[in-house]
């Protein structure tokens, strides 16, 4: 009889086991720090590994997801408990980091390594520092687009020959996508997106779907982070890239320590490491730009100072984001 009751017991038992498992995994001899990042795991994990190699008594537990997901999660944590559950964070959204700093949620730390970082990428008080900068380039499928026919600049993208060929990250759900929309609005105004809207672009959530769409040639032109393009090209996918003539959009990834973390000492060591030579070498090996002034950039690419960028006001972007999203939806509907 009572198979149902037995089922219940079984379920409870399994759940308890699950609970124990998740707890036992979190308790060990060494110090463990919680690391929230928006940088894809193939790039953030090697850094954490290198750090643990150099500091065997500190283990780094990573949570990695898209910009909007990570920020949404941190907001909820702060709302529920008054502080972040993350001890350290590495986030590609300067406006959010600045806001966290203004709210007093970040630990000010004068790392001895800070002096080696380009002044443009660090907070004078040491509350946050960008050890890495991603650049947005135009990526295209070499299967579908001849090198001569590829767009040369941002404004080329509005050319009618790219009708039905373009893909963008949906700014409604993607932080990177939103920054790109704002950057073009700041540079060209809304006519840029009105021109794009006429070409019926595909809007996907986040970079995942986008890269695959370009690689497969279904939507052969899109804009993408340099490290994603480098990764695809290294895997011999049929793609290539163009640095837009007006300049690329720079997206610094800021590292910061959450104020009130119980693991402050370990967090500081990680901070030092992220802007250290060791850290920069890992970044270079992975084809990413670092911000140290005393080391060259990744192999085969211009030094970071020579990459032409378009000016972009992140604070204005953060202020106007809700209005931008609404206008963007209307423009795309026309």
């Amino acid at each position: 009889m009572n198979v149902a009751i037995r089922g219940c017991f079984f379920a409870c038992g399994m759940s308890i086991l699950a609970g124990i498992w998740s707890m036992s995994a979190a308790s060990a001899e060494t110090t463990e720090i919680q690391f929230y990042t928006t940088v894809p795991r193939n790039l953030s994990e090697p850094l954490a590994q290198k750090f643990t190699e150099l500091n065997p008594d500190i283990k780094v537990n990573i949570f990695q997801a898209g910009v909007e997901t990570v920020l949404e999660k941190m907001r909820l944590e702060a709302r529920g408990t008054g502080r972040f559950q993350a001890d350290v964070m590495w986030i590609e959204e300067p406006a959010a980091i600045r806001q966290f700093a203004d709210e007093g949620r970040l630990e000010a730390y004068q790392s001895p390594e800070l002096k080696n970082v380009s002044a443009a990428y660090r907070d004078p008080e040491g509350r946050f520092v960008a050890n890495h900068v991603a650049f947005i380039f135009i990526m295209y499928s070499t299967k579908k687009i001849q090198p001569g026919a590829a767009p040369k600049s941002w404004s080329d993208l509005t050319d009618t020959k790219f009708a039905g060929q373009l893909v963008f990250s949906n700014p409604q759900v993607s932080g990177t996508g939103a920054a790109i929309v704002s950057a073009m609005v700041q540079k060209f105004g809304w006519p840029f997106w009105e021109g794009i809207a006429k070409l019926k672009p595909v809007l996907v959530n986040g970079s995942q779907g986008m890269t695959s769409l370009i690689i497969q040639g279904e939507r052969p032109v899109g804009v993408m982070q340099d490290y994603t393009i480098a990764d695809a090209m290294q895997k011999k996918q049929p793609v290539n890239f163009i640095v837009p003539e007006e300049g690329s959009l720079a997206m610094p990834a800021y590292f910061a320590i959450a104020r009130g973390t119980p693991k402050l000492e370990a967090a500081k060591k990680f901070y030092d490491f992220m802007i250290s030579k060791d850290g920069a070498e890992v970044l270079m090996r992975l084809g990413m730009y670092h911000t140290r002034t005393d080391l060259p950039g990744p192999e085969g690419r211009p030094p970071i100072a020579d990459v032409k960028t378009i000016p972009f006001d992140w604070a204005q972007h953060a202020r106007e984001k809700p209005a931008m999203k609404a206008t963007f939806a209307d423009v795309m509907d026309k």
Partner: protein, 549 residues
């Protein structure tokens, strides 16, 4: 006849479940008021200031309705072929149809972009060459493209609920009609299908409501629906209040559908087919038509499983999915990566545990709830309970997850950061599937069997456990499978509830897409399908300890 839920157990199960559902939802709406200290109802009116949200709402309703209609037609047809005819490969069709339910909405949609994309879709290109067409015949980036993909995802819901009802059908009615000389078609449309109407209705309702909250496919296809809008509102700077408000308006149509269903089912006794004189129905013998009909049944499997998984499977075995196909491009590295990758392995383990736990608890709770709901359906409180418990299915799971975080991130009960909170989210979100599946079957069982048990002196609890449960056993297994699979693929809640160590398989899969490669993502998708197929075969072996009849 009434078996009152006077046993404390039944009422407490119902109350507990109601509390479970109310908790996260209540936090969403009461939260702003609690935190600001004043009554804050801005979110109710704020929605109407946003024109695009209303536009998204109309889109969502149209798509969900069309999807429910398509999925019901296909699902019922498949269920009938599998249960009531003698076509070959019935078990395979059933296994793969249900298995297709595990395909992540993202992957299913993306596979169809690769197949039916207007520029480079494999099928489009092939059709253009074959028929010398100027333009691609299909465009997946369209409203109908979205409905097509959404229907593929909803068919298993209708299929499973209908199958479980058809299996418990009483054969005597069909036999009478046969003896009286009715044709097979006439028997099907005037007897068999009308008799399982509660189950078909339940399946259609589930299909409708689940499409209301679908996120993955519209996100990939760029269709503007409420769940994608909600996701947009949660970005930085987040508008949790608006997101909660929009979800509330999404609950409206879900409730409306449920009330309509309850109204249809209220003429009690109309669908009772399992009585004391129980005999299994005879399958329809199709003779020479067996093979052509089998092909018809397989056509869904081809569209929902074989085509997408041939694209995804090929990618999972490629070094570079976009490269020109060649032997040099083939590799097993993507699968080897899974075996080396601690995040993916942990994710698979966590997903199995959380999904199985949620599915078993959901089935156990649903047994009691569905029984009370069917046997006491005239009581307003019971109807209200039924409606309340249905709500989470129509709410995007990310919204449920936000409510859960706010409820369980601080003392007295801190579950945030554990696997418990993920299991809880699954339970809340997918309990309605189990309830609807079992309620449909309970409404087919004549209460005379329970009365007989009571007459010989058994207590209500004994009657429930020894008579009612064995009668619906196969549907309990169905319910467990139907809850397990969507939990296993669930992403919206899993991603926002994830912290280091409680990540799930779907989370590992989607982060691999952005970070490792599309090829590895496909490999994880294929492994998830394989696990689901094995789980189904294991579930099918579970038999009641005390066999009935």
């Amino acid at each position: 006849m009434t078996i009152r839920p006077h046993s404390v157990a039944a009422s407490s199960v119902c109350l507990l479940s109601a509390a479970l559902v109310l908790l996260p939802i209540a936090w969403l709406f009461v939260g702003p008021s609690v935190e600001s200290g004043t009554l804050n109802l801005d979110f109710l009116t704020a929605v109407f200031e946003q024109r695009r949200l209303l536009h998204a709402l109309t889109n969502t309703l149209q798509a969900s309705f069309a999807t429910a209609v398509c999925a019901t037609i296909v699902g019922v047809m498949l269920a009938f072929l599998v249960v009531r005819t003698d076509i070959p490969f019935r078990k395979t069709i059933s296994l793969l149809t249900v298995g297709s339910f595990v395909t992540s909405s993202y992957l299913q949609a993306f596979a169809y972009v690769l197949l039916l994309g207007p520029n480079a879709g494999v099928l489009n290109v092939a059709l253009m060459r074959l028929f010398h067409l100027e333009e691609a015949p299909f465009d997946i980036y369209s409203f109908w493209g979205y409905i097509f993909v959404a229907s593929l995802e909803a068919v298993p819901l209708v299929f499973m609920t209908t199958v479980s009802a058809l299996r418990t059908l009483d054969g005597s009615l069909e036999n009478s009609a046969r003896i009286l000389g009715a044709s097979a078609w006439r028997i099907v449309f005037t007897i068999s299908l009308p008799l399982v109407a509660p189950a078909i209705g339940a399946g259609a309702l589930l299909a409708f409501i689940s499409t209301l909250s679908l996120y993955g496919a519209p996100a990939i296809l760029g269709i503007r629906v409420v769940p994608t809008e909600i996701q947009g509102l949660l970005g930085f700077p987040a508008r949790f209040d608006l997101a909660a408000g929009v979800s509330l308006y999404l609950m409206g149509p879900a409730l409306l559908g449920l009330l309509l269903y309850q109204k249809l089912m209220s003429r009690s006794g109309r669908f009772v087919t399992v009585t004391g004189r129980w005999g299994p129905p005879e399958p329809f013998r199709l003779g020479a038509l067996r093979w052509p009909t089998c092909l018809l049944g397989f056509s869904f499997v081809v569209v929902a499983v074989l085509l997408p998984y041939s694209v995804l499977g090929y990618a999972s075995l490629s070094k570079a999915a976009g490269a020109v196909p060649s032997l040099d491009n083939l590799t097993l590295d993507n699968y080897a990566f899974i075996l080396r990758d601690s995040l993916t392995l942990r994710g698979l383990g966590n997903s199995v545990i959380a999904s199985l736990g949620a599915a078993l608890v959901a089935t156990a709770l649903a047994c009691v709830i569905a029984f009370v709901e069917v046997r006491q359906r005239e009581r307003p409180a019971v109807r209200a309970l039924g409606a309340l418990l249905m709500l989470p299915f129509g709410i995007p799971s990310v919204v449920i997850a936000i409510g859960l975080i706010l409820a369980f991130i601080r003392p007295p009960l801190v579950l945030y950061g554990t696997l418990w909170i993920i299991g809880l989210a699954y339970l809340i979100k997918f309990l309605p599937i189990a309830i609807r599946t079992l309620a449909a079957v309970f409404s087919q069982i004549d209460s005379s069997l329970e009365e007989a048990s009571r007459i010989v002196g058994a207590s209500p609890t004994t009657t429930f456990v020894r008579i009612s449960i064995p009668l619906v056993w196969s549907s309990m297994v169905t319910a467990t499978v139907l809850v397990f699979i969507p939990c296993f693929r669930e992403l919206g809640a899993s991603i926002i509830l994830a912290t280091p160590f409680n990540e799930t398989a779907a989370f590992a899969m989607i982060t691999a897409w952005g970070a490792v490669s599309f090829e590895v993502t496909c490999a994880i998708g294929v492994v998830m399908l394989a696990i689901t197929l094995v789980a189904q075969m294991l579930f099918a072996r579970v038999r009641p300890a005390a066999a009935f009849g």
